[in-house]
Amino acid sequence: MRRTRILAGASIAAVAALALTACNSGSPTSPGGDGGDTGDVLPWTVATDVTLDGSPTFENITDRGKVVIGVKEDQPGLGYLDVTTGERTGFDVDIARWIAASLGFDEDGIEFKAIASANREQSIVNGDIDYYVGTYSITDKRKQQIDFAGPYFITGQGLLVRADEDAIASEADLDENTTVCSATGSTPIQNIRENFPGVPTTEFDLYSACVEALLNGDVDAVTTDQAILIGYAAQQPDKLKVVGEPFTEERYGVGLMKGDDVLRAHINQLFTDGGDIWQAIFDRNLGDSGIQVTQPAVDAY
């Protein structure tokens, strides 16, 4: 009696497990990426016989045989993972690929890791990733723990609102009736709390959760770097819009292990020499957004 019951239970579990796997195999997946970009030609070429003497990061990369890059995956246009195809796209991701190519690694030699904003310094310090490209603002405080190559992009804090919102045209319209959302603890939310006292704030782990809350009407505006917001607005132009001008300046850099001056100089040189490639990467990712940006000069400190 007891045995049959256990058997029955086990078979139900087995059927359930089968049913679950059946669901899973229904969605197309292409692990590892299939070269990523079907059709169009990559603006960069993969270097051969690269040597970077005295770069501990490059030593790790060659020992391992592949590059591990920290990125974002919920920011359309900058760092985005399409979960159905497994394809990563975006300006930051392409910058990361370009750097990998300059080190002699093509798409097969790259492992992307999604790392949340709050964990970036620690991941670089721990050596979990070789470098980080994902809307990473260069600040003096961060330079105490890690190094930055770049900047490769300059933007500033902006506001995203619902397309039918008339009351908020810029940051001057924020008051106690407008709830603003951003990622937990992020610089933009700290800026709002300090410089716009009285404005209610809401914080979730991911910007995408804030955008969801904005569409639901739970919050009235989402704030973070304008480049990120433009990506969301471009994804759903009939529901979302970006208002106002950037009211801070954020300079995006590539996060590196502290003290790896050889790799930093290499990436800075790559950015300085590669103006055409930079422009091509910008055009294929953010060109349609209508924002006008020129490549910033690198700050080889």
Binding site: S117, A118, N119, R120, E121, Q122, V125, T139, D140, K141, R142, Q144, Q145, A183, T184, G185, S186, T187, Q190, T201, T202, E203, F204, D205, D218
Partner: protein
């Protein structure tokens, strides 16, 4: 030390909110838990059933899911009083189930003769409970009750994911300010150890002053 003193504004706010969640959640849990605990031993079948269903459903639901309901589901039904208040209710309602079970265990330690004697002199169920049984039950469950409250204190960090600025969030803030995340977490751990030590001290005092001679 610099991590602490350079960012006192954030630490103060975070600690204040953690304590607020703990005290408010604890008060809700104590009141609600005592009522539910009493319901579970009451002579009224419906009260017993409601108590049993509440304890079994809420206690078997992960705290994160309860928070999820309060943060995202509740505001769809009724106007939201703000995430901090919702977090207090989530913590209080969740912890109340544990309080109820601890109190029920305490009630079981009170000799049946006590309740029978109280009934014999004509006290109704409410007075049997509040005058005779619960005071004795509370005294015998101080250690497990304090464990429930220590768990509640640590559970407040779950609110970090739901837009409440407390000690669970501070790492994200300080890592944006460029502080070392591990040092921040060590400080958070140290603060929790101090708070738990204070609770243990309170427990020892209550145990000594409420001891029943048996």
């Amino acid at each position: 030390m610099g991590v602490l003193f350079d960012n006192l504004d954030l630490w103060g706010q975070a600690l204040g909110n953690t304590l607020l969640l703990f005290l408010a959640g604890g008060a809700i849990a104590l009141v609600l838990g005592t009522i539910v605990g009493a319901m579970r031993v009451s002579p009224v079948p419906i009260a017993r059933a409601v108590g049993t269903i509440y304890v079994n459903i809420v206690r078997n639901t992960p705290l994160t899911l309860i928070f999820f309901f309060f943060a995202f589901g509740y505001p769809q039904l009724l106007p939201s009083p703000g995430f901090t208040v919702l977090a207090m209710w989530a913590l209080g309602i969740y912890t109340a189930t544990y309080v109820a079970e601890v109190i029920r265990a305490g009630i079981n330690t009170v000799p049946v003769g006590q309740a029978e004697a109280a009934r014999a002199i004509g006290l109704p169920f409410g007075q049997v409970m509040t005058l005779i049984v619960l005071p004795q039950a509370f005294r015998s469950v101080v250690p497990p009750m304090m464990s429930v409250f220590i768990a509640l204190l640590k559970n407040t960090t779950v609110a970090a994911g739901f837009s409440v600025m407390e000690l669970g969030v501070i790492r994200a803030y300080l890592s944006e300010r460029g502080e070392n995340a591990l040092v921040v977490l060590l400080w958070v751990a140290a603060i929790f150890v101090v708070l738990v030590l204070l609770l243990s001290l309170l427990q020892r005092r209550l145990e000594n002053s409420w001891r029943i001679a048996r």
